[in-house]
């Protein structure tokens, strides 16, 4: 039988746990449950847990090694005793946050051709899903949204653009997301939003587990 998880050492002070499960809402939910379970342990050396689609990384400080020898051994033991499918906690807002999107991105016609859908259909399909924020990364406040209709799966650009405008809504493979600030980027851009996704005081507008609805304007 395949193990339920795989451990990979990320640095002397960080380890990644991968769930050997298909990427989707279910595995993501399990990641968030595991995060909660780890956080309730109150380990004094635990700095931060960073979840992503089907994995999470645990960052510790050096004091971990005052009482333990190995992150691998420690978490292998701990995770073997953890029951992965229990702890069904609700994480994030159930109420979808609405984001106004002007669907007029530079790659909209490419996406329409690639997917063999009309532009209106692309907009329709992209804006009718309820998305879940799987992770925030890449840039401060950049949401990776899970739940895109598979008719819209489009590969990334073979060579990334040096500049993608702030607010750009893009598709990269099965993922869709929004650039909170100008940045280089390789995703196919289909629209833009004026909504501020990150500010210095409140940080990320969207957080992991949030539900999101994109509203065409």
């Amino acid at each position: 039988m395949q193990n339920i998880f795989t451990l990979s050492i990320l640095s002397e002070k960080a380890i990644s746990v991968f769930l050997n499960k298909e990427i989707g809402l279910e595995s993501h939910h399990e990641v968030l449950c595991l995060k909660n379970a780890l956080e309730t342990q109150n380990w004094p050396w635990l700095l931060e847990i960073v979840p992503s689609y089907n994995s999470l990384s645990i960052f510790v400080d050096v004091s971990f090694y005052f009482s333990q020898n190995s992150l691998v051994t420690f978490f292998d033991d701990w995770l073997s005793k953890y029951s992965f499918t229990e702890n069904p906690t609700n994480i994030g807002n159930e109420l979808a946050k609405e984001i106004p999107v002007k669907y007029a991105g530079v790659d909209l016609s490419f996406v329409s051709n690639y997917c063999q859908l009309s532009i209106d259909e692309v907009i329709n399909v992209h804006s009718s899903s309820i998305y879940t924020v799987a992770m925030v990364g890449f840039l401060p406040g950049f949401p990776y949204l899970l739940g895109m209709d598979e008719r819209l799966f489009v590969p990334r650009r073979s060579s990334p653009r040096l500049k993608v405008a702030k607010g750009s809504v893009g598709i990269g493979g099965f993922q869709t997301g929004i650039y909170p600030s100008e940045s280089p980027g390789g995703w196919q851009i289909i629209g833009t939003t004026d909504l501020e996704l990150f500010d210095l005081e409140h940080l990320s507008y969207l957080t992991i587990g949030d539900k999101v609805k994109l509203k065409p304007i």
């Binding site: 990979s8 050492i9 990320l10 640095s11 002397e12 002070k13 960080a14 990644s16 991968f18 990427i23 700095l47 931060e48 847990i49 960073v50 979840p51 992503s52 689609y53 089907n54 994995s55 999470l56 990384s57 960052f59 050096v62 090694y65 020898n69 190995s70 691998v72 992770m135 925030v136 990364g137 890449f138 840039l139 401060p140 406040g141 950049f142 990776y144 493979g173 993922q175 909170p180 600030s181 940045s183 990150f198 210095l200 940080l203 990320s204 957080t207 992991i208």
Partner: protein
């Protein structure tokens, strides 16, 4: 303190911002944490007191208050007014004194700090400049936290400790997709040289060398990356993520460069050749703890000396 010339890439840095990666805010912080820690020990500061990380050409700084300062890390032929100053030693200055960095002798990043620390903006428990947001910004006028009435120019608080910045063997621990490298690629990784390319910066060092390949190309989803992560790009070249590493990435990962050697690497510039030396995770931890011991000892002896004086 007045910054007469800003220099390139001068920024406030400390050990970084931890706890906000889930918001996409990276850890950031100093590139050469060894030199940074040493600086604060010499100054008798808190271990994480923010310093100015300086690249060459460096800034020109005029002191407006009496204070004590020190420099560690790279050697940029620093002079105070017109006399040469050494690394790893504390100096006293008077208002009007000017420090300049004349030329690059050794290393890439120099750390400049004052006793008591700078009064710089704190954001999310760190004074490091977040490079993605360019915040908090490095500005032209800097206040010092503590006031000193008068100073003596030469002090005894110094230390003879310099990491070896010429060491080109970089130790790494294999992890993640390392096992999926082709046999040839493993051989190249462990036996050939890699050139630090000019597209290298605080975010990552791009290497150029024999292209490496995985047995099968895997489409990966984004997951955590951090300082030290070795990523394999689609064209077979490597990137070593440095202090300004983003929080997540989707390229295959071959492992990580150990903490100690990230400090070394920080002091190597573009066009330098490096080699990889494979070590175990257990060995990496041992080296980290050994370094901590050495550094703790240095700190203890400096504290003792300060008491005696």
């Amino acid at each position: 303190m007045k910054i007469l010339k800003k220099g390139i890439l001068s920024s406030f840095q400390d050990q970084g911002r931890i706890g906000y990666q889930s918001m996409g805010v990276n850890i950031g912080g100093v590139m050469d944490s060894l030199s940074f820690r040493l600086l604060n020990f010499i100054l008798g500061n808190n271990e994480n007191e923010a310093a100015i990380e300086i690249h060459f050409p460096g800034p020109q700084i005029e002191f407006e208050e009496s204070c004590y300062f020190a420099i560690t890390g790279a050697e940029f032929n620093a002079s105070l007014n017109s006399s040469l100053i050494r690394n790893n030693k504390m100096y006293g200055v008077q208002p009007g004194d000017i420090i300049v960095f004349r030329n690059k002798i050794k290393g890439e990043r120099l750390y400049f700090g004052v006793k008591g620390g700078f009064e710089s903006l704190d954001w999310l428990n760190s004074k490091s400049t977040n490079s993605q947001l360019n915040y908090p910004t490095f500005s032209g006028k800097i206040k010092l936290k503590s006031k000193v009435q008068s100073t003596i120019t030469q002090t005894n608080y110094g230390v003879d400790f310099a990491p070896d910045y010429t060491e080109k063997r970089i130790k790494f621990v294999p992890s993640f997709e390392f096992d999926q490298l082709t046999e040839d690629s493993v051989h190249h990784l462990l036996n050939s040289e890699f050139l630090i390319s000019k597209d290298s910066n605080r975010m990552g060092y791009r290497l150029s060398g024999e292209p490496l390949h995985l047995n099968q190309n895997k489409e990966l989803v984004s997951a955590s990356v951090t300082k030290g992560t070795i990523q394999l790009l689609p064209d077979g070249q490597l990137i070593i993520l440095m202090a300004d590493a983003q929080v997540s990435g989707g390229y295959p990962k071959l492992g990580f460069v150990i903490e100690n050697d990230i400090s070394k690497l920080s002091q190597l510039g573009s066009q330098t050749k490096i080699e990889f030396e494979r070590i175990s995770y257990e060995n990496a931890v041992e080296i980290m703890l050994q370094t901590k011991k050495t550094i703790d000892l240095i700190q203890k002896s400096l504290k003792l000396r300060e008491k005696e004086n």
